[in-house]
């Protein structure tokens, strides 16, 4: 008995270094809730933002220092894919935290739990990036999502926020059910032996022909469950409402970090676990990708609300990224998706920073609120234009580079029809992005400009510079993407 517990302890100590960032995040977040909440009075609550950012910076350092390997009964794997997507999650969270200050200052209550929830959620994302077992994927998804349900409903005085949280929660719980059911089917199909992705890949290949329907349903249900998490059509219904109702910094978060983690999981599940049974999922997934591009871009055209527009546009962007998942070469696919996601996080956070700035004036929800921004705040409007054109993939902005690299891969892998569809729908997307640009530049302004918070200025400036010059540093971007590998 002692021998067993000794062995367990050894294993734990041996594997702990794989999840140092997560452990650090959880410890700090717990301490923030108590006794940390006593540290600052309500008047000083804005100090939590820099502290959270510091925690995120340390997490980022820890992510880069973590050694590679597999542990916890092969539930978690630290490799290039994990590290790369973990960095993106930290980046996305940092952007959201920096943009939260103004909103939280306007609330009366203490707000430390807001930051703690973000950190808890982030730890879930970091687990999800490296989860190499269907069970650990399920746990990580839940840890990540439950924190976000609460954050979406954080503005409890506002009906839309609560409604959005409720909707997101119900549909999220439903999709988790489907996911876990799919997992159980696959467990059965594999002979009740394993849920580990690598083993599953072999077990499914050996599965008798009679269980092929079982495998197919299992794979499809996992696909549906994951599709919900990244809001791919037709599992996207929650996303425009949740995006619109959530506090805008949380919308920023939802559009970036959980998507990165979700895509990392999809890449790993479909690239390693289900690689052998790709005939089961390639067709459904390509329909999902195509439908996301079409519906996301077309539905965005008629939106009046900026947040809904960005929600639909993010559905479309997920559709593009699924092209990378479809790649027959999971390694190259992961690299292209990572690059796209990194670029998407930068430009999307930049765009949301401008929306949040306008919200400080009680505006920014509607696209009309952007009118005359080019006259009132020329530099800010220019930055917004850069973000929007980059989202539309207009060269030489870096968004084009991401699209180019992704679509290049898709054509190489033979998905020509889907790529043509992606490119044509991205031409459609130019229409609604330019709609915002035309509000900013071709309409007369109303009201006075108000000053902008330092954090927002920093984020907008940094993001704008990155988007403007990113393509020139293409080789560096490709070098980084080259470090993404599936072990």
């Amino acid at each position: 008995m002692t021998g067993f517990s000794q062995g367990l302890l050894d294993a734990l100590l041996r594997d702990t270094h794989l999840i140092l960032p997560q452990l650090f995040l959880m410890t700090v977040a717990t301490l923030m809730l108590w006794p940390g909440d006593l540290m600052f009075s309500r008047a000083e609550k804005h100090k939590w933002a820099p502290i959270t950012l510091l925690v995120l910076a340390i997490t980022a350092v820890l992510v880069t220092r973590t050694t590679e390997g597999e542990g916890f009964s092969r539930m978690f794997r630290m490799d290039g894919l994990t590290r790369g997507f973990q960095m993106l999650c930290v980046l996305g969270c940092a952007g959201a935290v920096a943009l939260s200050v103004r909103l939280l200052d306007s609330l009366k209550q203490q707000t430390v739990e807001y930051y703690a929830l973000i950190l808890f959620s982030l730890s879930g994302m970091l687990f999800l990036c490296g989860a190499s077992d269907l069970i650990s994927i399920y746990f990580s998804v839940e840890l990540m999502a439950i924190c976000i349900y609460i954050l979406v409903a954080y503005l409890r005085d506002r009906a839309t926020s609560v409604e959005a949280g409720m909707k997101y929660f119900l549909l999220g719980a439903f999709s988790s059910g489907i996911l876990v059911y799919g997992i159980s089917l696959l467990y059965g199909a594999a002979g009740g032996t394993t849920t580990n992705l690598a083993d599953l890949n072999q077990a499914l290949a050996l599965a008798p022909k009679s269980s092929s329907l079982l495998v197919f349903s299992g794979v499809l249900m996992v696909l549906v469950g994951m599709g919900f998490k990244v809001a791919a059509v037709p599992f996207h219904m929650w996303s425009p409402d949740a995006y619109e109702g959530a506090p805008t910094p949380i919308t920023t978060l939802m559009a970036t970090a959980p998507k990165a983690a979700g895509l990392a999981a999809i890449l790993r599940v479909f690239g390693t676990g289900f690689h052998g049974v790709s005939s089961d999922w390639v067709l459904p997934l390509s329909y999902i990708a195509g439908a996301s591009m079409i519906l996301g871009n077309i539905a965005a055209v008629n939106q009046q609300s900026m947040k809904r527009l960005l929600a639909y546009s993010s559905i479309a962007h997920v559709g593009y990224m699924l092209l990378g998942v479809l790649s027959g070469d999971p390694q190259a696919g992961a690299q292209a998706v990572w690059l796209y996601m990194a670029i998407y996080i930068v430009m999307n956070t930049g765009a949301f920073a401008v929306v949040i700035y306008l919200q400080g004036q009680g505006e920014g929800e509607r696209i009309e609120d952007f009118k005359g921004l080019g006259r009132k705040r020329p530099v800010l409007a220019f930055a917004m234009m850069v973000f929007l054109l980059s989202l539309a993939g207009i060269p030489p902005l870096v968004g084009f580079f991401g699209k180019f690299y992704l679509f290049k891969l898709a054509i190489e892998q033979g998905y020509v029809t889907l790529t043509v569809l992606a490119l044509l729908t991205s031409a459609v997307s130019a229409y609604y992005y330019l709609g915002v640009v035309s509000q900013m530049y071709f309409r007369e302004p109303e009201g006075e400009a108000i000053p902008m918070g330092a954090a927002s200025v920093f984020i907008v400036t940094l993001a704008c510079i990155l988007v403007l010059v990113g393509t020139a540093f293409g080789p560096w971007l490709l070098d980084w993407a080259g470090k993404i590998f599936l072990a």
Partner: protein, 563 residues
Amino acid sequence: MFTANTTLMLVATFLPVLGALVLLLVPKDQRRVFEIGSLLIMIASLLLSLPFWFGYDRASDAVQWAGAWNWIPALGVKFSVGMDGISLLLWLLTTFIGPIAIACSFSAILERHKEYYIWMLVLQTAMLGVFITQDMFLFYLFWEVMLVPMYFLIAIWGGPQKLYAAIKLFLYTLAGSVLMLVALLAIYFLQHQTTGVYDFSLASFQAMAPVIAQQSKSYQTLMALAFFVGFAIKVPMFPFHTWLPDAHVQAPTAGSVILAAILLKMGTYGFVRFLLPIMPTATKELLPWFIGLSLIGIIYGALVAMIQKDMKKLVAYSSVSHLGLCMLGLFALNPYGIKGGLFQMINHGISTSGLFLAVGIVYERRHTRMIADFGGLSKSMPIFATIFMIMTMSSIGLPLLNGFIGEGVILMGSFQAFPWAAVVATLGIILGAAYMLWMFQRVMFGPITEVNEKMEDLNLREILYFAPLVVAAFWIGLYPGPIMAVMDAPVRKLVEQVTPGFHAAQDLAVKQAIAAKLGMQGMAAPAAHHDAAPAGHEAAPAGHAAPHAEPAHGAPAQGGGHQ
């Protein structure tokens, strides 16, 4: 990395955008600074570009002043620049039109000066960039960047329907170019499969022509169509032309000038540079369609122009017709046709710019462009009437002026290739003369109204910006040789790329014809027979089946067979 000459070329290209960055720092109420500053920048860029005209080696068909920097080695993307004669002409046309477009804006642009001149300068660099790149990735970059400033120029300073026109231009062109991007990538991978390297350079794409020709027919057709649509939208060819009248009518004068003079040429340049050399086989397969669309464009553009009540719309539709003629020349795929098409691109740039400027002049004075509102302007505006007449004549192809040369050469080329098409095109040219002269007559002659009597004639600034166009129209019309000489070698190379052995066959045919002639004379005067024989011997090694011309009756039959 780059030689001194290449660097100079890059400086001339990027000077406008660098100037724009400097102007960005000037406070926005300094209207004069923007006007004069941007004019000086454009003139500086023009002056820097002139040495290239003189330094160009006309005997060589190579890309000159080539330079490259390994930008993204992993993808085979190079920042690679250089020019041959075709690029050089269009590049010079762009630097030439630049100052004119700025100078005509001084009185037309009444608000938001800072943004306007900055966008103009950015646009200039993007356009110049398209003509110097030797890398497909870089080409696509410049090609798309161009759209953004144009969008703003139309959407901010345009007419009442400006937003609609601007977004239409943007989306139309974007949709075309993304299709082209797919085809580009497909060829890029095909190249990787055959050669094992990733390379975006234009030369390597052109070297792919034989490999592409071996692919399945549907592959070739799809590739060629993707390129075709991308460029045809830009030209614009019928039925992709619908954005053009909107964009032209709504754009400010300078926008129309640049649109007509340079932007449309991007499309024709694309055909010459990419579609023809990269996919000659597929082009030839689809040629009847391309020719048909060119002809419909010529006739349809002319007929629609004829019924226009708005002068600007009339000129816009005349562009559809004229560019149809350019395309007809290019698709003749022989030296005359291609040279004529290229030549007409330059001419159209000069004459249509002049016409749009003229429309801008009357619009600034009367705030209307309706033909019916005018009449008798030659009385109140004699200088203007003279210049307008020169531009009209240049546009309809009057001898002594530039248009005549271009149209003549195109007709020669297309007659060699498709006689019936040349006949239809001639009809279009006649229609062109009809609608232009009819407009000129209605605007310039006839009874004059009181308002029109008070219209002021051109001022010095206006005369100054018209002057280069007038000089160019006459100079090219009287002395087209130098421009033709610049095109000679590259067009020869292009024709060889499209139809390998074309020149050898043609030379052979000519020599045989001469030999035949001399041979016939030889029957009368045997002495001449000795001259004929070497000609035949020379032709034979050129590798073509025809046995060398033996005297007398054998030769004429062969010579005839080649025609």
